[in-house]
Symmetry: C2
Subunit: 317 residues, 2 copies
């Protein structure tokens, strides 16, 4: 029988235990984080539940650990925050004990790359494996990127490509799989570098995780503007282009964990140049306009929508 | 069908939406917390899982909401922190939708009393209801109470009474129940006021949630001291005294969510006086001694131990 302390030890072992700003790390009742003077702390929480967000058939344990942290880092990226700390609440069966170190390794590898420190955690017994992460990051006081600052005339940029994560689940049900596409589902890459650049240029930003159109809609609503985009400008992978019948999955698929950024036209070329300098591809897909609503060129098949956890739209299990 | 946004709206509705230090609250990708200059931020996470930590037979939905937050606040109290913010990751069935507002109300009532603000959250679909909370609090820089500062000669104080939470589960299996005892299981009261006082007096502190002896052991180990306590000095309720065959449950039962505090003798009377002034009962149960180990007078039946989530010691389900 594995004890809770053994589980915790196994979970902690691959993580860095010291770092700037962590006065007290895992092992006490709380972690103590020392905020630098003048900074704002951004905090986010997101969960991965077995059978809902992942299955063992598709995901390795390291994939699960990576993705649980990545989806939180993507939220920090959308604020333009520098990742600082996270805590992880794990619910699992006793029989999952052997998986814990593998999950932790996948998580720790991404944590090290992102420069974020594990500050604490908790294990509970449950019939289903789930990981609930809360992450904190810093921005200079008053500079956090939000959904609410977009203005008519802003150019709308997105990172990476869209639709592969949803396509991976569709291909799986068709019994054919493509490794590059699958990687977007298993190992989303948080766009932290672009977020930091955007903090100096963008009026508004959002983490696109529930489908591009739905998440753009959140920015428009919060900012009181409309937008016009061209589906042909939405970046997709070569495989997506070869395999997908139409662009619906790229516009509504969900789980992309890319950023959408509203950049004033005067700053667009500086923004593009700085992203190129750090090796991050960004694509302009349209612009914000006066009034409300989102119009989309070149999307004849389009059914508006995105992912809702309680509407049963998508379930990989 | 209830949508995720409806669930979130229902969850948010009873909470205060504005407060000092919250630059940006729920509704964006992250919450933004403005740390006052010179403070340390304490962060903790703890979860409540249906069938493991609670059952609907014993707990009302409001009880569940209260307890999920209370167990986190108890960790903040043990650091001497002023509660500031928390986030809540909820996993539930679609059929739990009606329970969400009731859970939120129980949580919000405690949040208002404790002066802590909901800063964000997340809903996931799952086959079992669970609540995963991360909470943050502040202490002046470098003043957080930890487990590691106890010194030989310190007097060991505890808050409240012990054993009722465990007794409530034992009585339930015996088909007889006592309301006052049950309240300790359903509605633990975080000892925030005592934590704040202790921050100015104590060498070390711990949240006692896994059994008094086990949690005292954590302080002794972290501090490199031993301790001697008298079981007859461990405070118990009148009902506990009437019903329980011996003191085992008070020493090892778990879920007390009381504080144990190591106070230098010279500060003991000031500590007692200040606790009395805020209406909080504290009891001296022994002292820290040189060397290691914990000796307990007047506990002839004692089996050392506490609660381990993965050893199957206790399960209310």
């Amino acid at each position: 029988m594995t004890t809770e302390l053994q589980l915790i030890d196994r979970f902690l072992s691959p993580f860095a235990r010291k770092g700037a700003g962590m006065v007290l790390g895992p092992g006490d009742d709380c972690a103590v984080l020392r905020a630098s003077n003048g900074t704002d702390q951004c905090v986010t929480t997101d969960a991965l539940v077995e059978g809902v967000h992942f299955t063992s058939e598709l995901f390795s344990d390291a994939d699960i650990g990576h993705k649980a942290l990545a989806v939180n880092l993507s939220d920090l990226a959308a604020m333009g925050a520098v990742p600082r700390w996270f805590v992880c609440s794990v619910a699992c069966r006793a029989s999952d004990a052997a998986r814990v170190p593998r999950i932790a390794r996948g998580m720790a590898a991404l944590a090290a790359r992102a420069g974020i420190l594990l500050a604490g955690g908790n294990f509970s017994r449950a019939d289903t494996l789930s990981l609930h992460i809360t992450a904190g990051g810093e921005v200079p006081r008053g500079t956090a990127l939000t959904r609410s600052g977009a203005k008519a005339g802003d150019l709308i940029y997105v990172t990476g490509t869209f639709g592969d994560a949803a396509l991976a689940l569709a291909l799986r049900s068709l019994q054919r799989q493509n490794k590059a596409v699958l990687l977007h589902q298993l190992r989303p890459e948080p766009r932290l570098a672009v977020g930091l650049i955007a903090r100096r240029h963008a009026h508004a930003a959002i983490d696109v995780s529930d489908g591009l159109l739905q998440d753009l809609g959140h920015v428009l609503e919060a900012s009181g503007v409309g937008a016009h985009i061209d589906a042909h400008l939405v970046p997709v992978s070569q495989t997506f282009r070869d395999v997908a019948a139409n662009l619906d999955l790229a516009l509504t698929g969900g789980e992309d964990y890319e950023l959408a950024l509203f950049i004033p036209a005067a700053k667009a070329s500086a923004f593009e140049r700085e992203c190129e300098r750090v090796g991050q591809k960004v694509s302009c897909i349209g612009a914000a306009v006066k009034g409300g609503g989102l119009s989309v060129d070149h999307a004849p098949h389009l059914k508006r929508g995105g992912f809702d956890h309680f509407a049963g739209v998508r379930n990989p299990a």
